[in-house]
């Protein structure tokens, strides 16, 4: 299949454009936090993971130390390792491709690839979203970092509000069932309680510890035969866009996705220990 005829490539491209534009906000906020232009560019070129990058500059902007910024960034990057494990089984990259795939393993490329049923489409979706986001994210980071000085205070343009909205947008599709929403609430409260007590950046680690303990001791959420695919929002990866207009045209023609999801729901509903699955696919 040619790239321009591929539905997965189209989704990957649109996600790359949407995320790339957001790089403008990162570039502007990064220089406003006190980092230099080249420090900002190194974050986008080498660290390349939106959540980790915003965590890094968030700690710096709040007056935290470099080591605290590094800690928050590294912790938020852990999920990329989980994505890597999943993508490795889906894409089976070999040789240099494995090292390239690792660099563009982020929320957007993972979401695009795992949203496909066909292996070829998984490949096209992953690479178009990953490489496309990398290129645009870096171009817009540079533009934001340069314009940042000219724009003045990014707060005036609501760019800090954009960051809040983006994180809520990534969280949103994961908290449609009751239990994930409750976990999110507990972690949010833990964060609020920790903010006045510990240095900036550490509240995120406190919430991560709480979340990890809940996951460790939580029972029955995931049947042994279907790890991570219960469809209750607890799976490691989900389309972070909650955008049916994007997600459905893909799933509809293949047929297999809905069939699988139907089986998962049936399993979930017959297993008494599994929490109620509500509105996972509205």
């Amino acid at each position: 299949m040619k790239l321009k005829d591929s539905p997965a490539a189209k989704i990957g491209a649109s996600i790359a454009v949407a995320t790339g534009l957001y790089g403008l906000s990162f570039g502007a906020l990064s220089v406003a936090s006190g980092l230099s232009f080249w420090q900002t560019m190194v974050l986008s070129l080498l660290l390349f993971s939106g959540g980790s990058q915003f965590a890094f500059i968030g700690v710096v902007a709040a007056g935290g130390t470099g080591v605290a910024a590094m800690g928050a960034s590294a912790l938020l990057g852990i999920r990329n390792g989980v994505y890597g494990m999943q993508l490795n089984t889906l894409l089976l990259p070999a040789g240099w491709r494995r090292f390239a795939a690792a660099h563009v393993t982020i929320d957007e490329s993972t979401a695009t690839a795992t949203g496909q049923a066909d292996p070829g489409e998984q490949q096209r979706g992953f690479w178009v979203a990953g490489v496309g986001t990398f290129v645009l994210w870096n171009l817009m980071t540079a533009a934001g970092a340069v314009l940042g000085d000219a724009l003045g205070d990014p707060k005036q343009w609501g760019l800090d509000g954009a960051a809040v909205a983006a994180f809520l947008g990534l969280l949103w599709p994961r908290i449609k069932a009751f239990q994930p929403a409750a976990i999110a609430l507990v972690c949010a409260v833990a964060t609020l309680l920790a903010v006045p007590l510990v240095p900036p950046g550490v509240p995120i680690l406190v919430a991560a510890l709480v979340a990890g303990l809940i996951g460790w001791f939580r029972r029955g959420g995931t049947p042994d035969h279907a790890p991570g695919h219960v469809g209750d929002g607890m799976e490691p990866t989900l389309d972070p866009y909650g955008n049916d207009a994007v997600a459905h045209p893909l799933h509809a023609p293949s047929g297999t996705e809905h069939a699988e999801s139907g089986i998962d729901h049936a399993v979930a509903n017959t297993d008494r220990t599994v929490e109620i699955v509500e509105g996972e696919q509205p």
């Binding site: 420090q39 190194v42 959540g51 968030g58 954009a162 976990i183 607890m234």
Partner: protein
């Protein structure tokens, strides 16, 4: 200089974390307990990050225009707005509230 050092450490750790995922045998992910931890950890991190960005300023909690951005983004998400629209709504809400005089 210290900032450059930790910045580069963060970049190296980020890449190694990603690469490590590709080097781990698939069996590890098949462990249901690790799968649950990965799921709850992601939710916890995103929830914490949302709250920190909305209400934290250093070591104090503040109610400023970012709370307006949070509410506006939630409304946009409720009406199934695409990701980019949600981000724009958040920016517009914060900028608009500041124009009206809210910090």
């Amino acid at each position: 200089m210290s900032m450059w050092f930790w910045l580069l450490v963060a970049a190296v750790l980020s890449y190694l974390t990603k690469l490590l995922g590709y080097l781990v045998p698939a069996k590890v992910l098949a462990n249901p307990r690790m799968s649950r931890v990965a799921g709850t950890l992601t939710i916890g991190l995103l929830a914490s990050l949302t709250v920190v960005n909305a209400a934290a300023s250093g070591t104090s909690l503040v109610l400023d225009a970012r709370i307006g951005a949070l509410v506006a983004a939630a409304i946009a998400l409720w009406f199934k707005a695409p990701f980019l629209v949600v981000v724009l709504v958040g920016a517009l809400a914060a900028a608009g509230l500041r124009l009206l005089g809210w910090p």
